[in-house]
């Protein structure tokens, strides 16, 4: 079969592009090298929807950020992804900072950011009483929000799949060439044919371009380390708290997450290895000390996990969203660093425009369902609803993850509903099982069992996150029986 469009990469951009494509009569596939969607840049970032005052006016970043931020509430509503418009604050601690935030204010006005406001110290501390006493002034962007990036990607891909898109996991592109009519995209085991290709391969977008014979851009990984704190700390701030940005990024922020935890980070370090998401001692120390500058009351001993994510940075200080200069029908979506998540809905819309210009014919699919029914979240349900559900399926009454209150029914649903989880981390991202205070201490053995049973594989074959990440070394007493 020849697909109309192949999207390479199932991060938040690839996912939203695939979903947009599924609105039309098109055969679409998404090719993802990992064992699950949202495993690259989308897996670990600040989870912030920026207002859009930061990017230089006239850039794609500026335009798409402001547009994307505006689209986010409706999009998240359709996909039932939690979104909270909590506003953001950039703090000024000295005269230089004050000058800087005033400049950002002006820039924001040019970019079209709505309701921007400068707050004086008194207003600020009234709004956010846990901020440092040393703060002088702040820039307030009420339109900014928070969203869980991989939840958004999962929901978008799931919705695209429900509308007919194919997802091929563990498909690492090794070759990309164009015959007369179509592209051949190969992995080690398989070749997929498609008339149009969208390269949304994140950190590896340059390698996809290279495979197509282009060397127009280069993507460098930039590491950001984070610490996630217990829900008891989630209420320390309401808005997302930034310090003044630098060349390397928007500095270390302090923000609540949609799940009610507190997130601090990221560092910003250029590295060479695109798979190196290791945390470092220096990095975590920097995160801790800098975050305390904004919010001195953070209790660092309540950290429940630390992690690192990689940003996909192009040399150019703007997103690269453009048709290939070599092959007609190939669109690059590259260099999607911050504010990539914020811009992602607008990026997906923009890519549709570019595809149209490349000649794709779009006929609306009347069967398209924009709404995605979310997985059941028993903890958020009323007693009556929950009891109805348990009556239908008793496994929704059996709690597996104690810390987050996740039931066996929810885990089974996550394994079978598009895009189905195949790994321990996949279950964790979809249900939050194992994400709580004990970090999977109690539920890991049970989740491994459920995965093995539902996928029809042995316990030893269950992995943490695909590839060689097997969780168990084997059975005890594996030898032959004598009696």
């Amino acid at each position: 079969m020849i697909y109309d469009v192949a999207v390479i990469g199932a991060g938040v951009c690839g996912a939203l592009i695939a979903r947009n494509l599924s609105r039309f009569y098109l055969n679409v596939c998404v090719l993802e090298q990992e064992s699950d969607v949202a495993m690259g840049t989308t897996r670990a970032n600040s989870a912030i929807v920026h207002g859009g005052f930061d990017a230089k006016p006239g850039t794609l970043k500026a335009k798409l950020n402001v547009e994307g931020c505006g689209m986010m509430p409706e999009l998240c509503g359709e996909l039932h992804v939690p979104y909270r418009q909590n506003g953001s604050l950039v703090l000024a601690f000295d005269k230089e900072d004050v000058k800087h935030i005033h400049a950002l204010y002006e820039r924001g006005l040019v970019n079209g950011v709505k309701n921007l406001k400068l707050l004086n110290r008194e207003e600020l501390l009234k709004q956010e009483p846990n901020l440092s006493e040393k703060v002088l002034e702040a820039l307030y962007a009420p339109s900014a929000g928070i969203v869980c990036p991989y939840e958004l990607a999962l929901a978008a891909i799931g919705n695209a799949m429900d509308n007919g898109v194919h997802l091929k996991l563990c498909f690492k592109v090794t070759g990309l060439s164009k015959e007369k009519e179509y592209f051949c995209i190969s992995s080690e085991n398989e070749t997929v044919k498609a008339r149009y290709v969208v390269n949304a391969a994140g950190l590896f977008a340059d390698e996809i371009a290279k495979a197509a014979g282009e060397d127009g851009f280069f993507i460098a990984p930039r590491k950001g380390e984070y610490m996630l704190l217990d829900k008891a700390q989630g209420g320390l701030v309401n808005s997302t708290i930034f310090q003044c940005p630098s060349k390397m990024g928007k500095g270390i922020l302090v923000t609540p997450t949609v799940d009610g935890n507190l997130l601090i980070g990221p560092t910003s370090e250029n590295i060479l290895d695109k798979t190196d998401s290791s945390t470092t001692q220096q990095g975590l120390e920097k995160v801790a000390s800098t975050a305390l500058k904004s919010v001195p009351g953070i209790q660092l001993r309540t950290v429940i996990t630390s992690f690192a994510g990689l940003r996909a940075c192009a040399e150019k200080e703007d997103f690269i969203i453009e048709p290939s200069k070599k092959l007609k029908g190939l669109i690059h979506v590259a260099g999607i660093e911050s504010p990539g998540l914020s811009a992602s809905p607008a990026i997906a819309r923009y890519v549709m425009e570019l595809l149209k210009r490349e000649g794709i014919s779009l006929k609306a699919n009347p069967a398209f369902q924009a709404e995605r029914r979310p997985l059941h979240h028993c903890r958020q349900m009323s007693m009556e609803m929950r009891n109805q559900l348990i009556q239908k399926e008793p496994r929704f009454g059996r709690v597996i993850c104690r810390c987050e209150g996740i039931t066996e029914g929810e885990i089974i649903e996550a394994i079978h509903k598009n895009p189905g989880a195949t790994t321990l981390d996949g279950v964790k991202r979809r249900t939050r099982a194992g994400m709580g205070r004990c970090q999977g201490g109690f539920c890991t053995p049970s989740v491994i069992e459920i995965l093995a049973r539902e996928l029809g594989i042995s316990m030893e074959q269950v992995t943490k996150s695909g590839g060689g990440s097997r969780l168990l070394a084997g059975k005890c007493k594996a030898g032959e029986c004598v009696k």
């Binding site: 975590l284 007693m383 009454g397 709690v399 109690f442 053995p445 996150s465 070394a473």
Partner: protein
């Protein structure tokens, strides 16, 4: 809404003993709620021996100890619900729980006993730098996998933390054919019992590296090694002492914390040091009619003491329900002095007319010390201890006469004896 005299949350050693304590003190209408598929709690996976020496005068394994209590529960026909998770506890003692057969349901109880036990500190709380590969488990998770499910989490193991579960798992994994390369302990002394160091490590020539920690975990998909370094007095790694140890598994045994979310959400006052509720000598919390016992109150080192404390909580709940508890009269809060990390109970009714077993833990390993209870300068009680360690729970027994003389100025402290 269902009604019950007493709801006990947790069917581990504390919950079981609390149920017996209450039943034998006259309360028959008890519901025991257990989240697992059988009674006995964590004891079911603690298949090693060493339980019950104080209680039964013999060395039992965990499941045997639990079974003795379960049989007593069965004999008395005390009702319990398995695979039942408590979701919420309200200050006026409405317990909300869920299971597959009853759905979500509520019970209005006259008294509630919290007996949820504890959980292991997680790796994240330690923030060890590195990737997030497979092969990182808490010792208790490994114990569940090996003893409960019959699977070996890995073949070459480094253990961080020398808590008892870590030591026990070092032996257990060795017996099952894994190679335990080292146990690293950041403190200059082990957090586990001496007997476990002898029979779990020394018996199998497993090195115990004191004042060492893991500074990096290596591996992308699966753990392939760790860097272990010596630490200075403040627990910071010393540059240049790093050593790479090849392994496919890292187990953590870095301490236990009371599993107290229900109490916290209900608003019960907690002791920041123990992580458990603040209680009176009868194990009543800051909320009337809500009691706590066992590891959810403070982490015990011996299950025998858990049972003892839980029976006391059970009897107290019975007294409360039968309105035999005289709750008026003066209450006293004891102070922690030099060398004392925590005290349980934190408060007491002075006119309780009973001897008081005061549990405490010390802050440091010390030999030849004196535990002193004083009111200002006047000495009320003192006792010599040949050796104390933070890993071991200690206690003093105060006579009713001493109890009646306690005031808010009373301090329990540790004094080093001059040689």
């Amino acid at each position: 809404m269902k009604k019950a005299d007493l709801v006990i949350i947790g069917g581990g050693p504390a919950g079981l003993a609390a149920a017996l304590g209450a039943y034998d003190a006259g309360i028959k209408d008890i519901i025991l709620l257990e989240r697992d598929g059988k009674l006995g709690g964590i004891l079911n996976q603690c298949i090693h021996n060493g339980f019950g020496l104080h209680r039964f005068g013999e060395e039992l394994t965990g499941p045997e100890y639990a079974w003795k209590y379960q049989q007593e529960i069965f004999k008395r026909n005390i009702s319990f619900l398995l695979d039942t998770m408590v979701l919420n506890l309200s200050p006026d003692r409405i317990v909300t729980a869920v299971n597959s057969s009853d759905g979500v349901f509520q019970i209005q109880a006259k008294a509630v006993i919290l007996a949820m036990g504890c959980r292991e500190r997680s790796r994240g709380a330690l923030n060890i730098p590195g990737m997030r590969p497979a092969g990182i488990y808490s010792a208790g998770t490994a114990q569940k996998l090996v003893n409960g499910k019959g699977y070996l989490p890995g073949k070459k193991v480094v253990i961080l933390g020398s808590g008892d579960i870590g030591l026990i798992m070092a032996r257990r994994m060795t017996l099952e054919g894994a190679q335990v390369k080292a146990v690293c302990e950041i403190m200059p002394y082990s957090g586990g019992l001496n007997r476990n160091i002898v029979q779990c490590l020394e018996d199998f020539q497993i090195p115990l590296k004191l004042s060492h920690t893991i500074t990096q975990i290596h591996g992308k998909d699966r753990v392939c090694g760790v860097t272990v370094a010596k630490v200075n007095r403040s627990g910071k790694p010393i540059q240049g002492t790093g050593e790479f140890i090849e392994c496919d598994t890292v187990l953590f045994s870095v301490g236990l914390i009371p599993e107290n979310e229900l109490a916290k959400e209900a608003g019960i006052r907690l002791d920041p040091v123990t992580g458990g509720a603040e209680v009176f000598e009868n194990r009543e919390t800051s909320f009337k009619g809500i009691f706590a016992c066992g590891n959810v109150l403070h982490v015990h080192d011996l299950v025998d003491y858990v049972s003892e404390e839980a029976e006391l909580a059970g009897r107290s709940a019975a007294k409360f329900i039968l309105e035999k508890w005289k709750r008026d009269g003066e209450t006293v809060t004891l102070k922690r002095g030099e060398g004392i990390r925590y005290l349980v109970p934190q408060k007491l009714h002075r006119e309780s007319h009973e001897a008081l077993k005061l549990y405490f833990r010390v802050t440091d390993v010390k030999r030849n010390v004196e535990i002193v209870l004083r009111d200002g300068k006047s000495l009320l009680y003192s006792k010599r201890h040949p050796k104390v360690a933070p890993g071991e729970m200690e206690y003093v027994i105060l006579t009713p006469e001493i109890v009646s003389r306690l005031t808010n100025n009373c301090v329990l402290e540790m004094r080093e004896k001059e040689q």
